[in-house]
């Protein structure tokens, strides 16, 4: 049964106090909970947030399911998101994504056997002038080639 840590609980309560409508705190609270649960959200978490926030589970659940930045299943320690939208596609983003999967021996959205990496294809990340690019957790890596991308990932422990 998931429970927020003391600091996580305090952060959610702080978000609740911040907005005129407490529902505005749903997205920030999902971020807090996702971080505490190694990068993904479970039904347990929705239930717990519902109790803490006094907002119906269904209300939180519909927000959780709508936005792509909340993960519905486990991800690796490093979530590698490769942009494959138009500007990156023109500069080889899709080929780079395939190369990374091949080198790591996984399909898209799978976790590597050692639990380190998940590779996802994502839509435009606003890094079009420095294509191709990938986001690893919160950090952008730009102007990559398949080789430089793999070198970066190999250096992540």
């Amino acid at each position: 049964m998931f429970k927020l840590s003391d600091s996580g609980l305090a952060a959610v309560k702080s978000e609740l106090a911040r907005y005129e409508a407490k529902e505005s705190a749903i997205i920030p609270s999902l971020y807090i909970a996702q971080k505490e649960n190694n990068g993904f959200i479970t039904p347990d978490i929705i239930r717990h947030l519902s109790q803490v926030m006094d907002i119906p589970e269904a209300r939180i659940n519909e927000v959780f399911k709508f936005y792509t930045m909340f993960n519905q299943k486990p991800v690796g320690k490093y979530h590698v998101q490769v942009c494959t939208n138009i500007s990156c596609a023109l500069e080889g983003g899709r080929e780079m994504a395939s190369h990374i999967c091949h080198e790591l021996g996984v399909k898209y959205n799978e976790v590597t056997a050692d639990g380190r990496f998940t590779v996802s294809k994502v839509e435009c990340l606003g890094s079009c002038g420095t294509a191709p690019m990938m986001q690893v957790n919160d950090t952008y890596h730009e102007k990559l080639t398949p080789e430089t991308a793999m070198n970066l990932l190999r250096g992540m422990k």
Binding site: Y19, T68, M69, E123
Partner: protein, 430 residues
């Protein structure tokens, strides 16, 4: 180089991100000037400047402010920093390099419209820009530039950053308001427009990052000085995000009316060795594509691009060279819009999915010649029939790609492979 750096003059200075660095270049001096003006005089100046919203829709900013009710009801100022339109990366640069420029623009705008509370809604992936903004907001509060009785003016303004969570549709102003209210980011039917009934059903103005930053320069130098740049109907400078198959992509600030070909060849350094210009998407992925011949005639202003059947949009110029397969590229776009439809309106939810399926059946070698006309028919039936413009945004690239590069689509259907690359979709990408 023909850049005219009005907004971006000091972007090369790392210290410009800080309050001290921003002030050293005259930052927040315009705020003092604004507080000596009547709010209506600021609105009038913005109207006189001809500033149009830089997020994509291009609606006149001063006119939008003028739609607010005069009854003194509490109102909100929301900065749209969702920047999800593929090809667009200008607001990110502004937030990273000049966060105080945005904050000053927001305080002046809030004073003009009588708002005491603002939010900057930033797309969730922009973690670093959010950090830059939060740091700058903290500095501004500590210096008495935000909060109660700013600079002794008697005006209160609180500002907060709200992190989105990955949904293109939250760039649409009512979708953004829904998201900020803790709902799915689904757009709302208009009217009522946000200026009358927006965030928490209160009057709300939603402006783009670049628009709000420009307000400071209009008040600083006056509308007429601002109008010296650009054309009569498209006044001022604009940041263009140049990407795709060019030598030196990046953000460039040029006067509106600047030749599109010059942006590509001069600022962008031209095409890569041995490659020819084939097409350009001039205003973000939803703008109808232009052929190379049309690019030669296009100027970067609202009217010129409208005259060519396309739009300035967010100012994202995506360059496509002759090595690219247009069927493949349209496949990227149809997938994007099918992924991002919020699902609220049937023509969009079903239409985007249908376009994507038909297009990918062609790419996978299962297409029929009648599918080309089916794409046109479906896209035609999606236009103007939904709550927001996402449906149109999905339809317009399809119509323009298929119409202007029909030979590539017909070849693909007949041969089951790309006319340009000579290979199948599977060979291209696996």
């Amino acid at each position: 180089m023909s850049e005219v750096k009005v907004l971006t003059e000091f972007y090369h200075l790392p210290e410009y991100q800080t309050l001290a660095g921003y002030k050293a270049k005259g930052g927040y001096e315009t705020l003092h000037k604004a507080f000596k003006m009547q709010p209506q005089a600021i609105i009038d100046e913005v109207k006189a400047s001809g500033l149009r919203g830089r997020g994509g829709a291009g609606f006149p900013t001063g006119m939008k402010w003028g739609f607010l009710p005069k009854n003194g009801e509490p109102r909100y100022l929301l900065c749209n920093a969702d920047e999800g339109e593929p090809g667009t990366f200008k607001d990110r640069m502004m937030m990273e390099r000049a966060p105080h420029q945005l904050i000053e623009g927001m305080i002046i705008s809030a004073f003009a419209i009588g708002s005491n509370k603002g939010y900057i809604y930033v797309r969730g992936e922009y973690v670093f820009p959010i950090e830059c903004l939060n740091k700058a907001i903290k500095e501004a509060y500590a210096a008495g530039l935000l909060g109660k009785n700013i600079l002794g003016s008697g005006f209160d303004f609180d500002l907060d950053v709200y992190r989105g969570a990955g949904a293109y549709i939250c760039g649409e102003e009512t979708g953004m308001i829904s998201s900020l209210e803790g709902l799915k980011g689904q757009p709302k039917l208009k009217p009522p427009f946000p200026a009358v009934q927006g965030y928490l059903r209160k009057p709300t103005i939603v402006n783009n990052v670049e628009t709000l930053a420009a307000v400071t320069y209009i008040i600083k130098d006056g509308a007429q000085t601002y109008r010296k740049h650009g054309t009569e109907k498209s006044a001022g400078t604009k940041l263009f995000s140049l990407s795709g198959n060019v030598m030196t992509p990046g953000n460039f600030e040029v006067p509106l009316g600047y030749p599109l070909m010059d942006l590509i060849m001069k600022e962008g350094g031209g095409m890569k060795p041995g490659r020819k210009l084939k097409a350009v998407i001039p205003g973000g992925s939803s703008a109808p594509v232009l052929t190379a011949e049309e690019v030669a005639k296009a100027n970067l202003d609202y009217e010129s691009l409208a005259g060519l059947g396309t739009m300035l949009g967010s100012g994202a110029v995506i360059v496509i060279d002759d090595s690219q397969c247009m069927v493949d590229m349209l496949g990227v776009l149809t997938h994007f819009y099918a992924h991002e439809s919020c699902g609220q309106c049937t023509p969009c939810r079903e239409g985007t999915g249908w376009l994507n399926k038909v297009l990918h059946s062609i790419l996978e070698g299962r297409g029929r010649l009648q599918d080309i006309d089916l794409l046109i028919k479906v896209a035609d039936n999606m236009k103007g029939k939904t709550i927001c413009a996402l449906s149109d945004a999905a339809a317009l690239p399809v119509l323009s790609f298929v119409t202007k590069f029909r030979d590539e689509f017909e070849f693909y259907v007949r041969e089951g492979r790309s006319k340009v690359k000579g290979t199948t979709y599977a060979e291209m990408h696996h």
